[in-house]
């Protein structure tokens, strides 16, 4: 078991290296750099641009630029944002709790709504309830988040004044205000995942409900609730939990549209702005940290699997 996990951990390092190299090269392939963008709103001569590129280290060759960055990262220095001159690590550490909170709330809402709906749809298979739940789920999946977000803001912030229209309050500052501010964006973000989790729970439940042990449980005369929750759902949830972990990992990479609409200072917006302003250190830093989160979640899932599945442990 220990060796297996160590092996998985060792694999993480080349994965991160490859991710950082790919992202670095992709960025460099985009036309223009941070200095180019400066010319859009300031009168800069060709000499000015050469000087600025040299000062920012953009005149060096790609491998040198990458190695300089990587050498910094190894020493815990993620560099400075080319655009705001703020330290990248500080900016990322500011965003990480925001993104984590939004992703967690979205996952809690998705699981809290998606799983029960999936169970109900499976139990009432082929009925109006099943079709209704499916239709609602598909709507959640199909509604564009920016539109849904704006509708929620207009209804609950502008008209009813129940929730703030946007912004972010840290839970450390005011826990309830933080929860309150994040509810609408978490709902928007969850709307897509609810449908995904609902569909998976439904099909997993349908599979499990046909199993012999469920029939046996019923034959024993157990209450239907006990059969469904303790015998069927518990087994059906295993693939759903895996899916939930993957979705959570994806959300930690940032949710650009939702963050944009609700003006939440999270990873997604930071990353997209970084790409558009050619802020290489920001993009590199965010991708590296997001990849670390993703790998860590996968690692935890692997560890959990290994602990429950002797076949994996023995490999």
């Amino acid at each position: 078991m220990g060796r297996y996990l160590l092996h998985r951990l060792a694999l993480a390092i080349p994965t991160l290296l490859v991710v950082s190299i790919v992202v670095f090269v992709l960025q460099k392939l985009l036309p223009g750099d941070a200095a180019t963008l400066m010319t859009a709103d300031a009168d800069l001569s060709a000499d000015d641009l050469t000087r600025i590129r040299a000062a920012l280290g953009l005149d060096k060759s790609w491998p040198v630029q990458y190695l300089v960055w990587m050498w910094g990262v190894v020493q815990g220095d993620f560099g400075t944002s080319l655009n705001t001159k703020l330290p990248v690590l500080e900016v990322i550490l500011d965003k990480l709790p925001v993104t984590f909170q939004l992703a967690s709330m979205a996952i809690v809402i998705s699981v809290g709504i998606g799983v029960p709906l999936g169970v109900i749809a499976a139990l009432k298979r082929g009925s109006a309830v099943d079709y209704g739940v499916n239709a609602a789920g598909l709507s959640g999946l199909s509604i564009p988040p920016f539109w849904f977000g704006i509708m929620l803001i207009l209804a609950f912030s502008v008209e009813l004044n129940w929730f703030p229209a946007s912004g972010y309050v840290s839970p450390a500052e005011d826990f309830w205000a933080s929860l309150h501010t994040m509810i609408l964006p978490a709902i928007v973000l969850a709307s897509e995942n609810i449908a995904i989790l609902m569909r998976h729970t439904r099909s997993a439940m349908l599979g499990v409900l046909k199993q012999d042990y469920v029939r046996t449980a019923r034959a024993k005369g157990l209450f239907e609730r006990v059969v469904v929750v303790r015998h069927a759902l518990r087994n059906a949830l295993i693939p759903v939990i895996t899916l939930g972990a993957i979705e959570f990992g994806r959300l930690l990479g940032g949710a650009v549209l939702t963050e944009q609409v609700f003006t939440i200072p999270g990873f997604g917006k930071l990353l997209v702005d970084g790409v558009f302003t050619r802020d290489y250190p920001i993009v590199q830093g965010v991708v590296l940290v997001a990849a670390c989160c993703y790998i860590a979640l996968n690692f935890l899932a692997d560890a959990a699997y290994a602990s429950v599945n002797p076949r994996i442990r023995a490999r």
Binding site: T84, I153, W162
Partner: protein, 511 residues
């Protein structure tokens, strides 16, 4: 988890939410002004700043040497007076005696010199070209600074009303290097307090400011809210007190709302189609080489319909680098009305009845709509326009390399006319991406830099404009309006053509 436990958890969550609802959304204290910006500003060091939203923050934090009012007349700030030498080669500034930096040190002539010298010499400075005409800065006495110029350069005063004239405390700035942007020390009415990237910038009232009586808020908080509709929703919901840049299509909604007041001003900048006439291989096509084709393109456009369809008729149509109604607009050269028949005729004369070209468009809602309308209008005259939508940074890189045939681009505008033409149309201009060359324009624009008399300058700019309208290296289309919405509880806001929100004088209504 047992069903019962699940049910308890769900009930507890609902109760928690119900309690949370009234607790949050608390209004901050009345003496905080919250301003919603279109984007997160860049580096908060005037030497490094490049964005309009950055200027917005600077306008509260970093006093300039001079400023201008809504009529574009220069008014004193840190420089209480100034004097040009008769030959335009020397500018003498009298620095006010009661100004202080946020760290308490005085702003005197030596401090102004140090700040200007930093912006003129730092390798990362974006101000080097703007302040380039200064040959030497000479301290005459504690309050007097003389600037010796390489040649007469009247637009320098306008640079001093922008980031080029924002005075920072150079000693700590030099010591901090680029870290200075994390804790800038200027001499404005508000000092830097806190910045959380993409979330907020907080400024705190500076009690030793020389004009503190004109500033009525203890704190000013800038919040980036990129989506225009959401920005409006925020000011409607009271989550912010003021916003900039309302979409024309959102104006009816904003005007109906009694919780809001609106203000607007026509921008100093312009919107245009840049045509590659002389920059590399892509200039080698009918549009770039034959001015009759460019004329046909202009005649195929109906600027009024463009304005109505893309901007709800709220912007101002224009055909020059200066907006109608501004001092340097050439009244004798108004826009020509649409004439599709003549456009077709011109294309036939040029031998290309179905002229085809690619229009590069930076990817945003406004310019996408404008490009599509242009495409449809020009089609009626026989043009086949392909749209190439790319992100902004890519479009700039391609435009500089000459990798475009036509390009839709805006300019935010400068108060001195020089800033709206020289860099774009002078043969040596850094942003002359068409590489357009006209000795008449070069001569007029250079000469206008040396003159102080507005009448004489108008003649020169009009001569340059006439060439531009004939040769059409650019086709100017319209001038945007800056629309601001703010809480009806606020008074005394005046919109300025530069689009800045000046907090000076702005106050809560008397209770």
């Amino acid at each position: 988890m047992r069903f019962e436990t699940l049910r308890r958890f769900a009930t507890a969550s609902l109760i928690a939410l119900a309690f949370a609802a009234p607790a949050a959304h608390a209004q901050p204290a009345q003496n905080t002004l919250r301003i919603g910006l279109t984007a997160d500003p860049d580096a908060l060091d005037p030497m490094l700043g490049r964005t309009l939203v950055g200027r917005m923050v600077f306008s509260s934090m970093c006093d300039t040497l001079v400023d201008y009012n809504e009529k574009l007349e220069f008014v004193p700030r840190l420089a209480e007076s100034w004097q040009w030498a008769a030959n335009g080669k020397t500018l003498t500034l009298r620095i006010r005696a009661n100004a202080f930096f946020h760290d308490g040190s005085p702003v005197d002539a030596a401090a102004v010199k140090a700040s200007l010298d930093r912006a003129r010499s730092n390798p990362q400075s974006l101000r080097r070209s703007e302040l380039g005409p200064i040959a030497e800065t000479v301290v005459i006495d504690a309050q007097t600074l003389r600037l010796d110029l390489r040649s007469a350069f009247i637009p320098l005063l306008a640079q001093f009303a922008d980031r080029g004239g924002m005075i920072v405390n150079a000693k700590p700035a030099e010591a901090a290097g680029q870290e200075f942007a994390r804790n800038p020390i200027c001499a404005g009415p508000y000092r830097f307090a806190e910045r959380v990237a993409q979330d907020r910038i907080v400024l705190q009232r500076f009690d030793r400011h020389w004009e503190k009586d004109q500033y009525h808020f203890d704190r000013v908080v800038y919040l980036p809210i990129p989506d225009a509709t959401v920005r409006l929703a925020n000011v409607q919901a009271g989550s912010v007190d003021m916003i900039e840049r309302i979409l024309p299509t959102d104006l009816p909604n904003a005007r109906r709302d009694r919780r809001l007041k609106l203000a607007d001003a026509v921008e100093l900048g312009w919107n245009s189609i840049i045509i590659n006439t002389n920059n590399g291989a892509k200039a080698d096509n009918v549009l770039g080489k034959d001015k009759r084709v460019r004329e046909a393109l202009e005649l195929s456009l109906d600027r009024d319909i463009l304005n109505r369809a893309a901007h709800a008729g709220e912007f101002v149509v224009g055909n020059q680098p200066f907006a109608p109604g501004t001092p340097y607009y050439a009244k004798e050269l108004p826009p020509k009305p649409r004439n599709v028949a003549r456009a077709r005729e011109l294309l036939r004369e040029a031998g290309v009845p179905n002229a085809s070209f690619t229009l590069m468009v930076p990817n945003d809602t406004e310019r996408n709509a404008v490009a599509q309308i242009i495409q449809q209008m020009a089609r009626e005259a026989g043009f086949d326009i392909k749209l190439q939508v790319v992100d902004f940074a890519t479009s700039i890189a391609m435009s500089q390399k000459g990798d475009f045939e036509a390009y839709l681009l805006s300019w935010s505008g400068r108060v001195d006319p020089d800033g709206n033409v020289h860099t774009f149309f002078h043969s040596t201009g850094a942003q002359n991406d068409s590489k357009f060359v006209s000795p008449i324009i070069d001569n007029a624009l250079d000469k206008a830099r040396e003159l102080t008399d507005p009448g004489e300058r108008l003649k020169l700019y009009s001569a340059a404009t006439a060439v531009l309208l004939d040769e059409r290296p650019r086709i100017f289309t319209y001038h945007r309006k800056w629309f601001f919405a703010y809480s009806s509880r606020l008074s005394d806001f005046t919109a300025n053509p530069d689009g800045m929100i000046r907090v000076r004088g702005l106050r809560w209504n008397a209770q």
